[in-house]
């Protein structure tokens, strides 16, 4: 009944791992063809893969795990999806109803354990409720501010010998849940007025624009107004990265020009972004002269950390459509002189310290490959059109800075939780979403070891992803902080020659391994890697291990206060 409900819901893939409490469900999977199951090697990977599948397609990802350890292994992935507002349904097996509460074998209170990291959860108490609960779960996961939903299913509930009349509901109505749709017309009008009158405006777009399918509308609005746009780490691709109006990512490792634009702006249009602490730096020094318009589908995101002058609660696409209509109808236009001056100022910032007009990093004296150059080469070789998943660390920031995403849903990373181990399973999910696409996982030698077992899953399902490992032989991001704040005392951020031979490791799983140590070989080897269209290729690239990610905002200060290199600051 459960699998039938999933099929009726339109679920194509389930990422999961079997176990006792889920065996009735697994037997049902075996006896049908429609819903396909992807067997991962660790439940965490199932959640990340389903999560990335969702990020790439906009559909709800589905996970199936057993009770106890299966459920707890899924927790990190649920938390990752929760922090980035990704729609996902996690079905967990549970011990039989009568044993619940007795510390039965493999019993964990999954509803309780997952409570703070789900949008909602269900415990199924009656078989007859399955269709309605499944329908509700997908509806809740996908609408409003999306998020993960858990369905905990005691084993007796899926007993195949109990049969019931089955009907899948066409619609659900939940009286206590009415996600916001259209924005308030009066507020939208005020916002447009403020925008048009602005002299130093900026559009600050977050993951909500990607998730809410607002990229095209946002791009149209920005072009119409000729205003600069900055994307958050989660919003990369919401506005085309190679466009002239794009000033780069903002925040802790944002570009100089993006952070300067924000700090000096007199009007900020924040769309589907949440003024995260990695964006604002010290909140009390944040953008002192700006009036803030904040569009978000979640009222609780608005004025949470930074107070909005014009809050607009609504779905991003709907609100942007309304705004665009007003801008198009309006007799008033932005002050051309002021906007021209503003762009002149921005160009000056770009010329001084922008990372896209000139390289702002030195080549290593050792002659080692610079990590930034790896990402630039990746962009070149994949023509800027790959799905790029990432792990967490310096390599993630280099990828965010240097792979200029022109399309939404191409950049897949754990922004909110910062989960090492996300990259490889996420690449599998993205490849499942688009079997012909080029998928690259940018990772570090630290992160990749957190879900390395998934190389076997890639073999089983022929997922020819490319792993671009920026091997700096260290937990680089940790080491960078230790350099900057702890007198270079590298407490537990080095591995002392314990790294595996990644080439051999890849080969052991039946894949191709390529080691790159010389600058001159980088491009040719990368081309060789991406030419192997139907193979998994692990590129182990030795990069300079003393490099830091810059710019880097100075803690406790305003957005414009940044380190630009090891010695230079604003």
């Amino acid at each position: 009944m459960l699998i039938r409900a999933l099929h009726d819901e339109g679920v194509e893939y389930v990422f999961g791992y079997p176990g006792g409490a889920a065996l009735h469900i697994y037997d049902a999977i075996f006896r049908q063809q429609e819903v396909k199951h992807i067997l991962v090697r660790h439940e965490q990977a199932a959640t990340h893969a389903a999560d990335a599948y969702s990020r790439a397609t906009g559909q709800v990802g589905t996970v199936l795990v057993t009770s106890g350890p299966g459920a707890t292994n899924a927790i990190t992935g649920i938390a990752t999806a929760y922090m980035d507002s990704i729609p996902m349904v996690v079905i967990s097996g549970q011990v039989v109803s009568e044993r619940i509460g007795e510390d039965a074998f493999q019993e964990t209170d999954m509803v309780g354990v997952s409570r703070p990291i789900v949008k909602h959860s269900f415990m199924v108490r009656d078989q007859r409720d399955i269709p309605e609960i499944v329908k509700k779960a997908y509806y809740i996961a996908a609408t409003g501010r999306p998020g993960p939903v858990v369905i905990d299913v005691p084993k007796d509930i899926t007993n195949p010998f109990d049969t019931f009349p089955y009907e899948y509901p066409e619609k659900v109505k939940i009286r206590s849940y009415t996600p916001a749709t259209r924005g308030h017309a009066g507020q939208i009008k005020k916002a447009v007025q403020l925008l048009i009158e602005a002299k130093r405006p900026v559009i600050y777009a977050g993951g909500g624009v990607v998730q809410g399918n607002g990229s095209e509308l946002l791009t149209e609005l920005a072009r119409k107004l000729n205003y600069p746009v900055t994307n958050t780490l989660m919003g990369l691709g919401a506005y085309p990265g190679t466009d002239r109006q794009f000033v780069g990512m903002l925040g802790m490792h944002g570009t100089y020009e993006a952070n300067m634009v924000m700090h000096h702006a007199d009007a900020i249009l924040a769309v589907g972004a949440r003024f995260d602490d990695r964006v604002t730096n010290a909140v009390n020094k944040f953008c002192p002269n700006a009036k803030i318009i904040h569009i978000d589908v979640d009222p609780a995101s608005i004025s949470k950390t930074v107070t909005a002058d014009i809050p607009i609660v609504g779905a991003v696409d709907s609100v942007l459509t309304d705004m665009l209509a007003l801008v198009n109808e309006s007799d008033e236009v932005p002050d051309a002189g002021a906007i021209k001056n503003w762009w002149q100022q921005i160009e000056e910032w770009r010329d001084n310290h922008g990372i896209y007009v000139a390289p702002r990093y030195q080549q290593a004296e050792s002659g080692k490959i610079m990590p930034q150059d790896v990402i630039k080469t990746l962009h070149e070789v994949t023509k800027g059109d790959a799905y790029v998943t990432s792990d967490v660390g310096q390599h993630q920031m280099f990828a965010a800075q240097y792979y200029l995403f022109d399309k939404p849903r191409r950049w897949i990373n754990s922004g909110g939780l910062g989960t090492m181990g996300f990259g490889l399973p996420a690449a599998m999910g993205a490849q499942m979403a688009d079997r012909d696409a080029v998928v690259a996982c940018v990772t570090g030698e630290g992160s990749i070891q957190m879900c390395i077992q998934e190389l076997a899953t890639c073999t089983q399902y022929h997922l020819p992803i490319k792993i671009i490992c920026l091997n700096n032989q260290a937990l680089g991001m940790v080491k960078q902080w230790q350099d900057m704040q702890y007198g270079s005392r590298y407490s537990e951020s080095l591995y002392e020659d314990s790294l595996p031979d990644f080439v051999k490791l890849a080969e052991a799983y039946g894949h191709v391994g390529i080691r790159v140590t010389k600058k001159e070989e980088l491009k040719a080897k990368m081309e060789e890697c991406f030419a192997m269209k139907d193979r998994v290729v692990f590129m182990d690239i030795a990069v300079d291990n003393s490099e830091h990610v810059y710019p880097m905002q100075i803690a406790g200060a305003s957005m414009r206060d940044m380190w630009l290199s090891k010695t230079e600051r604003t």
């Binding site: 409570r115 703070p116 909602h120 809740i140 939940i174 206590s176 009222p299 609780a300």
Partner: protein, 163 residues
């Protein structure tokens, strides 16, 4: 500032733990909490008192509203309202104390609901302030046990919190 938030929510297993969890997860404190089913048995009414500035209270109400089980809520302290709390208190009452305590109970319009040779059980209803004042009047020395129900509240006038 002290606020009384009244929540109408689905009477389902797990609903209450979501509300309580939200408070601990986001670092809000709960001063008191009462919950019971309403005349519509699919709904529960929960009243909680908390302390915070306007910003914090706005966040609390927004997050409560986000919970799928929460149907509606109101911050009663925003308008005219009636609040009540019930207190049961067991006090030593022997000799001259008996008359004294009895007088105190009358002043506060409480009732003595159980008596032994050496103690009274008193029931008092009113605002939390009144209950506090009674406790002070009786004095720590006589108090053996105190049970308070937590605050319940309802808006004055036409305003109704229902489906």
């Amino acid at each position: 500032m002290r606020r009384i938030i009244s929540v109408l929510m689905e009477n389902e297993p797990g609903s209450l733990s979501r509300v309580v969890g939200l408070f601990s997860q986001r670092g809000y404190n709960i001063e008191s909490l009462t919950v019971a089913p309403t005349e519509d048995e699919t709904l529960s009414r929960l009243t909680l008192t908390t302390i915070g500035d306007d910003h914090k209270i706005e966040q609390i109400t927004k997050h409560l509203n986000k919970l799928i089980d929460v149907v509606k809520l109101v911050d009663l302290t925003e308008g005219a309202h009636i609040e009540r709390e019930v207190m049961l208190i067991k006090v030593k009452a022997a000799g001259a104390q008996r008359a004294e305590i009895k007088r105190c109970v009358d002043i506060f319009r409480g009732q003595i609901v159980d008596v032994t040779a050496s103690l009274y059980i008193i029931q008092i209803t009113g605002t939390s302030d009144k209950l506090d004042a009674f406790l002070q009047a009786v004095g720590d020395a006589s108090i053996l046990e105190v049970v308070r129900s937590g605050v319940s509240g309802i808006a004055r006038g036409e305003k109704v919190l229902s489906l």
